[in-house]
């Protein structure tokens, strides 16, 4: 049975977040599978470019709402607007990227529209005539297969970098629909006071990717390639106690028994031998990569992937590869 698909295009300052095109790719696939039309939804202030890009990326139609109050994502005005749009749509599939904003917006909208919700999915496919969303649970130790049981909207967010982004086709055309904003500024209960960019300052405890350096980096300057890899992956920078004790990097970066206990999806340990004090802080990471000159360090026993080599020649190569493959 045919079902239309809507995809929310996340943007900031008139620039779409790359995750939006990944969600668009997932949405195209689902629209194809379900034989439905694909509608992009763009909210913001002066986002005509993004609306056009959405059509080029595969949307049959774009709903655009431009208003000064929407210049920056806030949950109430965005969710109420999206919920009103959905009220006028037949039961559809709604997709968004599983960014902090995407997760929040979709949950809020699901509550307002009594929809089913499958957040942070890594795979979407059709089983029989049912849409199945696959998502990791329990820090990646379980795989949860979600099926929608109701008759209403089905809302899905997709994990970053799982779907290859949809490429633009400038010859595509589509319908553009302008939709008025739902809330006036004085009806919105929150006000953004200031925004500080946090480039390269990802919080260790919340990071899903951490790249750490240990005694093997040899000195404060040895952290440079480690930091570059963390930045390339959008991850946080960590360190072992040995590196912190040596004064190469501040204590706030320390991972381990007497530092932070972390549980990221990916932990890359560079020049860290794996003393128990360090293992205690990171052993529950979903995937552990150890890069060490020494082919016989205890950490390999806990790691999933190992590279026995000089981190100063391997890390730049990895940084390069990551930039190439993830388009950053």
């Amino acid at each position: 049975m045919a079902s239309n698909v809507l995809v929310w295009i996340e943007q900031e300052d008139g620039q779409a977040d790359p995750i939006a095109w990944q969600a668009m790719a997932a949405a195209s696939k689902v629209a194809g599978d379900l034989d439905g039309s694909l509608t992009a939804v763009v909210f913001g202030d002066q986002v005509a470019d993004i609306a056009r890009q959405a059509i080029e990326a595969g949307a049959d139609r774009v709903y655009t709402t431009e208003d000064a109050s929407l210049v920056r994502y806030r949950v109430e005005p965005y969710a109420k607007l999206l919920a009103r749009i959905l009220e006028n749509e037949p039961p559809s599939v709604i997709l968004a990227g599983a960014s902090t904003a995407g997760l929040e917006l979709t949950a809020y909208v699901a509550a307002l529209t009594d929809a089913g919700l499958a957040p942070d999915c890594t795979d979407l496919h059709i089983e029989g005539d049912q849409l199945v969303a696959v998502r990791p649970a329990l820090v990646g130790n379980l795989v949860s297969r979600v099926k929608f049981t109701g008759t209403g909207h089905r809302i899905i967010t997709v994990r970053r970098n799982v779907f290859q982004p949809a490429y633009g086709d400038e010859s595509r055309t589509g319908e553009a629909v302008d939709i008025p904003a739902e809330q006036a500024e004085d009806e919105i209960p929150t006000r953004v006071e200031s925004v500080e960019t946090a480039d390269g300052k990802v919080s260790l405890t919340e990071a899903s990717i951490i790249v750490s350096g240990g005694r093997g980096v040899g000195g404060p300057e040895g952290f440079q390639p480690v930091r570059e890899l963390a930045d390339a992956l959008g991850g946080a920078l960590g360190a072992s106690r040995a590196a912190v004790d040596a004064g190469w990097i501040p204590y706030v970066h320390q991972v381990g028994q007497t530092g932070k206990t972390v549980q990221p999806d990916l932990y890359i340990a560079c020049g860290i031998s794996g003393a128990i004090q360090h293992l205690a802080g990171m052993k529950n990471a979903r995937v552990i990569v150890a890069i060490n000159k020494d082919a016989d360090v205890p950490l390999y026993k806990y790691a999933h992937y190992g590279i026995a080599g000089d981190l100063f020649s391997y890390l730049p190569a990895i940084v390069e590869e990551v930039r190439k493959r993830l388009g950053r």
Partner: protein
Amino acid sequence: MLSPIEKILFAIVAVVSLYLASVTFRRMIRIITRGQGRLSWDRPAGRLMTGIKAVVSQNNMIRNRPFVSLAHTAIAWGFILYVAVNLIDVLEGMVPGFVFPGENAAGRIYRLLVDLMTAAVLAGMVVLLIRRFIVKSRTLDVAPQVKLHPGAVDGIKRDSLIVGFFILGHVGFRLLGASFDIAIHGPDPWQPVAALAAGLLADLEPSFQTAGLHASWWIAVGLVLAFLPWFPYSKHAHLFMGPFNLMTSPDRNSPGAMDALDFEDESIEQFGAGRITDLNRTHITDAFACIMCNRCQDACPAYATGKELSPAALEVNKRYHLRDHMKSLATGGGDEEPLLTYAISESALWACTTCGACTEACPVGNEPMFDILSMRQNQVLMESAFPNELKGAFTGIERNGNPWQMAGDRMEWTEALDFKVPTVAENPDYDVLLWVGCAGAFDPGARDTARAIATVMHRSGIDFAVLGNDESCTGDLARRAGNEYLFSMAAEGNIETLNAAGADRKRIVTGCPHCLHTLKNEYGALGGRYEVMHHTQLIADLRNDGRIAVNGEEGTRATYHDPCYLGRHGGEYEAPREALAAAGPNLVEMARSRNRSFCCGAGGAQVWKEEEEGREAVSDNRFREARETGADTLAVGCPFCARMMNDANKRAGEPMRVRDIAEIVAESMQE
């Protein structure tokens, strides 16, 4: 000798002095009884002997700082004699014609003894005054980062000066009196020192001589009467309170064995010490016994590395607080201020490694380490205010049975062995239970040690077993970190496991001195009594019985670091050295070894937190000393010493080889 008016006057002065002294001494006793628990006074004869021995032998002092202690010994012995001398002098003054013990041989010996001892006291006192006020020995200072009562620096000097002049005055005028006596009654070859001055006095008017004799008597005896009520306000109360403290201190299974808290009694609402009256009576007595000699400070690894901790300052601060609030504390008030505001800083509280060097060094039996442990209990159990890093270790013990929160298999370390290590379930008739410890089970470095111990036992034909996944942290770190509640839960669980495994009827061997100390000396109070030995003790026994043959490489040089919980707290210094010697290397001792061993910096839960702010890491200080021996191997007997020394070794560019004795022995057993 005295005139009737003098006699009446003396009686009045004596009564007033004794009355005032009774007031001040009673205050001191009341303050002590405001503390918790009781002073120990079982087997009084034995305890009395302890006190007498300590006073007479002066051994507690002489073993540290021998030269200064010699001066102290002169004064101490002199004053023991002077107790009798003063009583005799009073009697001679009050009873006409009484001379002790008469003009006979005994009298001559008595006079000679007093004369010489008087000179010794004067000489000793001059030495001590020169040391404090002219040489200004730096061991008497307290570093500026340490919290110290604002009045203490000047107070201690004033106190010392007053006592110095009291002693010089008291003993000096007693001597002068003897000189006048000689000048009046003629020469006495049995008082050679007094005779020196007598020559100068011989030409004086007889009436002047008599006046001098009386004045000397009054000053000598009067100073004692004047000083008596002041004692409880002076550090010189140590004269009585030092021996008293030694005699009433608790019997502990080891110098570090802590008392269990009662968690069953719901009416108890204070755990640990937040205020001074929460301390045990014996630890309030400590403050009165302290003479502020700083021997504990000299021995303290935290102080030596520039931390805010000085055990001496802790006792000084307690004492000055008591002195400031003597009256109100004696009458039920005065304890509103938390100890952490005046006795010790928070950083100092958490800098203690519980190495026991302070209690070992103290001549009067003070236990500053226990004050710290009680205060930590208050911080954890009452205030929940402690270094955040410890939370992970506590949670690990609670949830995973090990402080690293490792979820893995406690038998994984055996996988690399070429023989099977059986669990108790697989080998219920074992002879020896190997207690692996969390480090042995999980720490990659300590696993090597655990494998070496198992190898030695296996090759020696010992029928042993391990508890496997039934083993759990003994709780030592929780206890030293103040989390007595978690310790008691850990202990209960382990005692149940051990008894179910029949370990109470077998021998337990462990590679971890912390486990050893807890199992052997602390579980008993909770109902678990076990025969426990360290692996080096087992190895030494095996070697002495000829059950292991080692053919270690000779000619290598090794130094041995005594772990605090095997040495000072466990009393074992020889076995590890025998075990090491058996394996070949020549032993080169560090300057600080055996009971003076310097901590590695791990104990007292330090390894589970960041080291407190200071000049250097305790481990670096110790490692430097090991390196200075010129040995190529640093032998250890504790997984935590191994960790600390390994890290210090790496920081120094790995100039040494850090190995557990078990590993050195196991290696030397190979063909």
